[in-house]
Symmetry: C2
Subunit: 520 residues, 2 copies
């Protein structure tokens, strides 16, 4: 299980480290070197004496003690080397990139059992096999690119699919999304998504660790663990969004073929997510837009002010918000009239607040101040501001950046001009903020988050199921039928709560029983 | 109404043309010049003698005859100049960029009526006011950027919102989407979205004109016209997708404030679109992904083969397809076994066809050939192929480009590695194809198209409503009740079809009447 040897190793060996950076063993070594790993770094390769500037050992026997071993060699060679590392070199963490284990048939399954036994025998940690690795502030232990700049408050990404983790990072980086760590659990031979989350929950420090967790799962193998630690983390202020792929019959067949995932009913998964407080997502895009919203201040009510110089986007956004239960309430009254006086003729403040194509940065600042300070009913703002390509809009985005720092209400920026204002958007992202290129994609993310309830309290001691009592009742029902009293006893025996019941056998009892009912 | 003076002018004058390209009058002139307009180009500007290298007139009186006038001057100056142009200069097309008309209050409304009267008095065409202009193969008459490279078979975009047209182009160009023309109708004083579509229908030439129309509307002011010409175009092989913004109560209030749109019930709009065969979209992203699908061969059945080296994307895609009624059917049998023999161990062909992270370009070619030639039940393919960043994938995308040319079944490419394979994706786009960066966004577009029925036949002569007969029946119902015969006569009078009815008054009639019923 996850330990400090994995998370903060003092020494790493790459078994199968290579000079060829087109191979996983070469690329992962390059990533670790480029990431300025501060501990000791070793390579084992039978065919080389030096790899990427690092003196190379022919065998693990030549090594001293090693915290973390990363294996990029054929599956059949893994067990022997892991034995040596576990028993003689005090290695307590392993990442196996190689495929050819449980996903590859019976022989691979046996190999996988073997390596898990080795790891468990010394109480060590195993990530994979068949994964892209682990990436955190201490080392870049993945064989893929891009390796995003890491920030303590970026997202933690835990994925049962390596390629999906890569595609999520690739789609997230251009939006301005930051990452804190990435765990690709591959076949989850020992550590699955649930176990990573468990560790994060049990060791959560809000000052040190990210408040955003993103999950990609193809099966929930331990729903109780997921529920317990997801809801616990969320109660600590962490926000979690997850894709559970394989939600349909065909998708679940696809997942079974991909990672050997067991079928989970989508209805059950959705119920589990709701109970835990996890935002359910169906695509990389949804996961990333929800994650982007998580990066802004929390939405605490349902009333949104839509602020724009582009009417069409405001209309589509308003549709998507109100179709999902959020409100774009009318804004009226003396303060609204006052605000209108600062804007160009033809502007409207009724919400959407449309300050026209000629609207200025200064006007945007005034509008945001009014929404922040005067319009008490407003809980959050969305600012849609693009460019027709006539002039630079950097001054507008500067105002937006400044207001994002000082306002207590959340402000979500939609900067749609990915061509006309490419440079200005880049400048905005460099101030540490995230862009939503499509207003409706943002609207749907806000709706998904708003409609996910807080985690249910599951702290009460679990009532034990009284199997003896249940067995006795069932055995006594020789004809297969139970009396109302027996049904009640059966429910009580399982701990299923029920409303108070009374059995009426005579009409004259009704009044009396009704009194009982009212009194109970 | 739309005419050749607008579409293919031999001469254009920009009234208010300026040296300042940060102003609409300056930028539109620059766009027309940069677009190498082949006719004569004039500028009227009271304050200049030469604008952007073009000799400038102080007044329209100094001009000869002009086909098209583009006005970028304050609204109040428009009527007089338009009078001169219409009456003395044979100008038969006007584009008014200026705001300050009907959207700006009563005075503006009066001005708008005035200019429409001028235009109608000489049977000319008016685009706008309050729009970004018109862009087609003959001239780039918009004041915004980007001006996409135009192709005869690119999309025709007709929008009642100028900024939305810009944002649609900005989001579409990076996907590889091409355009054929853009019409921004602004206030639709004379020509609205429906009128542009009507012109396109009445003049459609499949060899010359685009087969893809994209619409953005905030109200449907002439539903009959939209239905008639949209369904007529679709029967000619054109494909149409549209956003009707303002679908919710709040969104419709927003639309009213933006373009003065009247409220249309979303249920009615959706029914209208279904009847016409228009694919209903709710966001720019949906419109663009549907448009991208339109650019590929038509999907003629519901059975999709998902081909990938990245299992996670395949699972999410399969979910989105099958949730929407499309199928990812199992592929089995001797041909499937044969195909498997060409792939690396561990691959699966059961559909998704997963040829693993180590899958090659050659293998992709073989898989596509099998889906095209051997697997008769397969109607279309989606290929998901990204890059973990280890090696160049251009050879894979080359195979994909080649197969796109030769296969009769549609193939939709999902190339998600927008960072790792940026250069290779760019190369793929340069072969003229379009990319779908997110598999689920593609899946939902395919579903939306698949679930939009063919246009209903509306060619039969419309039955006239017999108002006299209806009035007579209603007037004769002094107590407010109608007999069954009168109800039937009322329905017949409106032309509402009904099943054959018989009134039974005596039990002994039942058998006889039942015989009648069977015979009728």
């Amino acid at each position: 299980m996850i330990n400090q040897s994995l998370l903060n190793p003092k020494s790493i060996v790459v078994i199968g480290g290579s000079n060829d950076i087109k191979k996983p063993g070469g690329k992962i070594l390059k990533n670790i070197i480029d990431g300025s790993f501060k501990g000791e770094l070793f390579v084992v390769n039978q065919k080389e004496t030096s790899v990427q500037g690092i003196t190379c050992q022919r065998s693990v026997n030549e090594l001293g003690n090693i915290d973390l071993a990363i294996l990029s060699i054929p599956a059949r060679f893994c067990p022997e080397i892991m034995h040596t590392l576990a028993d003689d070199k005090e290695t307590r963490a392993f990442i196996i990139l190689s495929a050819g284990f449980a996903e590859a048939g019976d022989e691979g399954k046996q190999l996988e059992t073997e390596i898990v036994d080795i790891v468990n025998s010394v109480n060590a940690c195993l990530i994979g096999p068949n994964c892209i690795g682990v990436l955190n502030a201490n080392y870049r232990g993945v064989f893929t690119s891009p390796t995003p700049p890491l920030e303590p408050q970026g997202c933690d990404l835990i994925s049962s699919s390596g390629s999906t983790a890569v595609f999520i990072m690739e789609a997230g980086i251009p939006l301005g999304l930051k990452f804190s760590s990435v765990f690709s659990v591959g076949n989850s031979a020992q550590v699955g998504v649930e176990e990573v989350l468990e560790y994060m929950d049990l060791n959560h420090d809000p000052l040190m660790h990210s408040g955003i967790k993103l999950l990609y799962l193809e099966s929930v193998s331990d729903p109780k663990k997921l529920l317990k630690h997801a809801s616990s983390l969320i109660k600590k202020g962490v926000r979690i969004a997850a894709i559970k792929a394989g939600s349909t019959k065909a998708g679940s067949r696809a997942a079974a073929s991909h990672t050997g995932a067991l079928t989970n009913s989508d209805v059950v998964v959705r119920a589990l997510f709701r109970k835990a407080g996890i935002v359910y997502c169906s695509s990389r895009e949804e996961l990333l837009s929800v994650a982007s919203v998580f990066n802004y201040k929390e939405l605490k009510g349902k009333n949104i002010a839509v602020i724009t110089h582009a009417g069409g986007s405001a209309v589509m956004l308003t549709d998507s918000l109100s179709a999902g239960g959020l409100l774009v309430p009318a804004i009226e009254g003396p303060d609204a009239d006052k605000l209108l006086s600062f804007l160009h003729p033809g502007s409207s403040v009724g919400n959407p607040i449309d300050f026209l194509a000629t609207g200025t940065a200064e006007q945007l600042g005034i509008i945001i101040d009014y929404c922040e300070q005067k319009f008490d009913q407003i809980d959050a703002m969305v600012v849609v501001f693009g460019s027709p390509g006539l002039f630079d809009v950097a001054n507008v985005y500067n105002v937006l950046s400044e207001k994002l720092e000082v306002c207590s209400k959340p402000i979500f920026p939609v900067l749609p001009s990915v061509i006309n204002a490419r440079r200005e958007i880049q400048g905005f992202l460099e101030t540490g903020h995230i862009n939503f290129p499509d207003e409706v994609v943002l609207g749907r993310a806000l709706v998904a988050i708003y409609n996910t309830p807080a985690p249910q309290t599951i702290d009460e001691p679990e009532q034990a199921v009284d199997f003896n009592r249940i067995r006795k009742i069932i055995d006594s029902a020789s004809d297969g039928f139970l009396s109302p009293e027996e049904v009640a006893a059966l429910l009580d025996g399982t701990g299923i709560p029920r409303v108070t019941e009374h059995t009426i056998t005579r009409a004259s009892n009704v009044g009396h029983q009704f009194d009982c009912y009212l009194a109970s």
